[in-house]
């Protein structure tokens, strides 16, 4: 049912969806119970001539019970939700599986640009591949991304991966993902970042190792050797300075 809306293309996509379904089941139960009781009461106690209303303060013990029992059940449900929610959060945002590859993701008005280590597999070396809009990754590989922004707050989101992380200027925020499904998926900016916000789209292309190797071979450009390999953050702040003048 879920896949009809949006596919799961990363290892933690499914755990997030399962958490969603768990919460849906629990709160859905409460919601249905409450609404049923609600409408049943409205119907049962509709105005009838000659039927006096009852004077109930709701302070007596045997009445308070009707509130305290659901009250503790709600707390119980909260805990049942809390534990898996924090577990999922921990696995996605706190625990960081060792990187097999590291890429740098840079948001700026209004495009995503990416810096991928070339054949040597190390960032900030001469053979790095810098791309705009498209990020090429290998399937079943754990990627760390170093997220930066050159101007305003952006948010790096890949819906099919259930991945979302804001990019703050001046900070480097590290995250991870492990694509497990070959294909091409959207990259969104989900934090309003100016008039080009809706143009700030990208694509992540998840390839088989062979295809990725071929792509690397085809793109590891010698011209990169000439340009100084500077970490993007510095050039970033200089761009900010320019924009200000």
């Amino acid at each position: 049912m879920w896949q009809r809306y949006i596919i799961e293309a990363s290892t933690y996509a499914q755990s997030i969806d399962h958490l969603f379904l768990l919460i849906a089941a629990l709160v859905g139960f409460w919601f249905i119970v409450a609404e049923t009781v609600f409408f049943w009461l409205i119907f049962t106690f509709r105005k009838k001539d000659g039927r006096p209303t009852q004077h109930i303060t709701g302070e007596e013990k045997h009445l308070v019970r009707w509130i305290t029992i659901p009250h503790f059940l709600v707390i119980l449900c909260d805990i049942v939700i809390l534990v898996p929610a924090i577990m999922v959060w921990y696995n996605v945002k706190e625990a960081m599986p060792p990187a097999e590859q590291t890429v740098r993701v840079i948001g700026q008005q209004w495009a995503w640009s990416f810096q991928e280590p070339g054949p040597d597999g190390i960032l900030d070396t001469a053979d790095d591949i810098r791309t705009v809009g498209d990020l090429h990754v290998t399937v079943n590989t754990t990627y760390h991304f170093e997220l930066e922004s050159r101007d305003v707050v952006h948010s790096f989101a890949i819906p099919s991966f259930r991945l979302k992380q804001d990019a703050l200027p001046g900070r480097t925020i590290t995250g991870w993902f492990r694509p497990d499904r070959v294909g091409t998926y959207d990259i969104q900016c989900t934090q309003i970042c100016g008039i080009g916000h809706a143009m700030m789209a990208g694509r992540i292309i998840v390839e088989t190792p062979q295809d990725h190797a071929a792509w690397l071979l085809h793109n590891s450009n010698p011209s990169a050797a000439s340009e100084p390999a500077a970490p993007a953050s510095q050039s970033g702040s200089s761009i900010v300075a320019e924009v200000r003048r």
């Binding site: 949006i6 997030i16 958490l19 969603f20 919460i23 859905g28 919601f31 609600f38 409408f39 009461l41 409205i42 106690f45 509709r46 105005k47 039927r51 006096p52 209303t53 009852q54 004077h55 109930i56 303060t57 709701g58 308070v64 509130i67 659901p70 009250h71 709600v74 707390i75 909260d78 939700i81 809390l82 929610a85 924090i86 959060w89 921990y90 945002k93 706190e94 101007d151 305003v152 707050v153 989101a157 819906p159 099919s160 979302k164 992380q165 804001d166 990019a167 703050l168 200027p169 001046g170 900070r171 959207d186 969104q188 309003i192 970042c193 008039i195 916000h197 809706a198 700030m200 924009v243």
Partner: protein, 558 residues
């Protein structure tokens, strides 16, 4: 007519523009708020048209360019929260009800009250002016995250951004003055015999809301000054390249922004409590428990703010704390809703228009409540943050608060405000049209949100996964439903203004209610009461066994 000598009848200008009478100020707030609601509704129409029928010229507006779209969305959010929900729920109802319900002749500080409205009016002028300055109105979302909001080079609306900020700051000042006045009046000016737990819930809730607002807005006022300096004096409070930090604003904003939700929720809860007890002819189930849950909510609302920032770059470990507190706050709110439901038990429910609105509030607010859990749970928020799921969720809280409960209040107190009855038939048509359309607007948006539609985007053409036709159909459905909902508001306006002259004359207590405002004539004269009442009992004494009448007014000595 009032016996207090000093209440002479003022002249026209005095009466309508310079009055210190709390009822007149309430009317000023209400009509201003309704006018702003029309503007906010029109803005909603503009961007929903763009989303439902992309890149078609919107009748009455024209082509929606990306820049205009951002401005329209930003203004819709700001106006609906700061210039509709707060003035109507807190200022209008607070001004009208507090002195009447606590048996006083006016606010404790009438001139501070008038000043509060005048500052509020100035804030509106500033805000509306921002539509016409160079670059147009501010387009950085109502959350105004810097550096986007701090630098004209980024938002391309330098003048609009500053005017927006000034308007919001003025609005804060207005509501600080008003809220402190409400609090002091309720604490000090109650009728003889009205003890703490004899105060009607709506007064309690409005005062609690004012206190929460007062305590949470301070840091944001400081933050707004800093942002203003960033915009105008080129300071670097939020500029990382100059030793500042953009994340600071997000914290300051949400430290206010989340309590703000309860600032508008509590008065709505109070209004609904009054209406339900009257039309179910029932004593409130667990009056004190409701107050305790309200206090608990108020305190907890100060420790949950960062759940708006789970993926905003805060330290991930902090998210765990805020997830716990966020799920904790669901407990008192749930309990409050349970108590409202339990109040219906054993009643004799007559489904008048106000009652329909009040019941609809409870039914719809539950949807908003349960969907909040998905966002409060950090795990699912990773995916749902800043999607349309969020939008659908908070509209399922804010529409019941700012629209449904307000209609409950207006239709309920209309006789007291204007001395006329509203037309029931028109009222019911308006109710069903509005509520059904409302659900058809936002249920599709839950789906598009789950499908990954991100917020504040004027067109999904760039995003292959979002550009699928089945999602576009959902968006179009929502837009059409909005058109229906808006058109039904015409019926309300007709009913409202037609009844002002031609409605059936209302006697003092048409609903046979117990609270003090119904002992004053409808509409109450300057000074409210012929002689100021004395209170003998709590507000909700309905259906007592062994009494001729099924209600026992608070001021009835027998």
């Amino acid at each position: 007519m009032s016996t207090q000598v000093h209440h002479a009848e003022p002249g026209i200008f005095q009466k309508y523009f310079w009055s210190t009478d709390h009822k007149m100020i309430a009317m000023q707030y209400m009509f201003t708020g309704m006018a702003m609601a029309l503007i906010g509704g029109f803005l909603a129409y503009v961007f929903r048209m763009q989303l439902g029928f992309p890149n078609k010229s919107v009748p009455g507006f024209g082509i929606v360019t990306p820049g205009k779209y951002n401005a329209v969305v930003t203004m819709h959010g700001s106006i609906m929260i700061f210039w509709v929900a707060m003035p109507i729920l807190i200022a209008a109802f607070g001004n009208f009800l507090i002195p009447l319900m606590i048996g006083a002749d006016d606010m404790a500080f009438p001139r501070i009250n008038r000043l509060s409205y005048q500052i509020f009016l100035v804030s509106i002028v500033v805000l509306l002016a921002s539509f016409f300055v160079k670059g147009g109105a501010f387009g950085g979302a109502w959350t105004a995250y810097p550096p986007l909001s701090a630098s004209g080079a980024y938002n391309l609306t330098p003048a609009g951004a500053t005017l927006w900020l000034v308007a919001v700051a003025l609005e804060f000042v207005a509501f600080l003055l008003g809220g402190i006045n409400f609090t002091v009046t309720t604490m000090n000016s109650r009728a003889p015999g009205m003890k703490m737990f004899d105060i009607p819930l709506v007064v309690w809730m409005i005062v609690l809301a004012s206190v929460i607002f007062m305590a949470s807005v301070g840091p944001l006022i400081a933050g707004a000054i800093m942002l203003l300096f960033d915009q105008t004096l080129s300071t670097g409070f939020y500029d990382p390249s100059r030793g500042g930090d953009p994340l600071l604003w997000e914290h300051l904003f949400w430290f206010f922004g989340h309590p703000e939700v309860y600032v508008v929720l509590l008065p709505a809860m109070g209004i609904v409590a009054e209406v339900i007890t009257v039309f179910a002819r029932k004593k409130m189930f667990g009056y004190k428990t409701i107050l305790y849950t309200a206090w608990a909510t108020g305190v907890l609302s100060f420790v949950v703010w960062a759940h708006h920032q789970f993926v905003a770059g805060i330290d991930p470990r902090m998210a765990n704390i805020f997830t716990v507190t966020t799920l904790l706050i669901s407990v008192p709110i749930t309990e409050m809703v349970f108590l409202y439901i339990a109040t219906l038990y054993g009643g004799s429910i007559s489904l008048t228009t106000p009652m329909l609105w009040a019941l609809a509030f409870v039914a719809e607010f539950m949807i908003g409540g349960v969907t909040g859990i998905f966002l409060g749970a950090s795990g699912t928020d990773i995916y749902l943050h800043d999607t349309y799921f969020v939008i659908a969720h908070f509209h399922y809280t804010f529409v019941p608060i700012a629209i449904i409960s307000v209609f409950a209040g207006i239709t309920f107190w209309y006789p007291k405000m204007f001395g006329r009855m509203l037309n029931e038939t028109l009222g019911k048509i308006h109710f069903w049209g509005t509520v059904i359309a409302f659900n058809v607007i936002f249920i599709p948006l839950f789906m598009t949100g789950v499908a990954g539609d991100q917020r504040r985007v004027y067109s999904y053409a760039q995003f292959a996964e979002q550009a699928r036709p089945e999602l576009q159909h959902l968006r179009t459905t929502s837009t059409i439903a909005l058109l229906v909902m808006l058109s039904f508001q015409v019926i309300f306006l007709i009913n409202f203004f037609w009844s002002l002259r031609n409605g059936k004359r209302a006697e003092a207590n048409p609903w046979r209610s117990t609270t003090l405002e119904w002992t004053a004539p409808s509409p109450p004269p300057h000074g409210n009461f012929a002689e100021l009442p004395t209170v003998y009992r709590g507000p909700y004494e309905y259906g007592l066994p062994g009494r001729a009448e099924d209600y026992w007014p608070q001021n009835d000595p027998s």
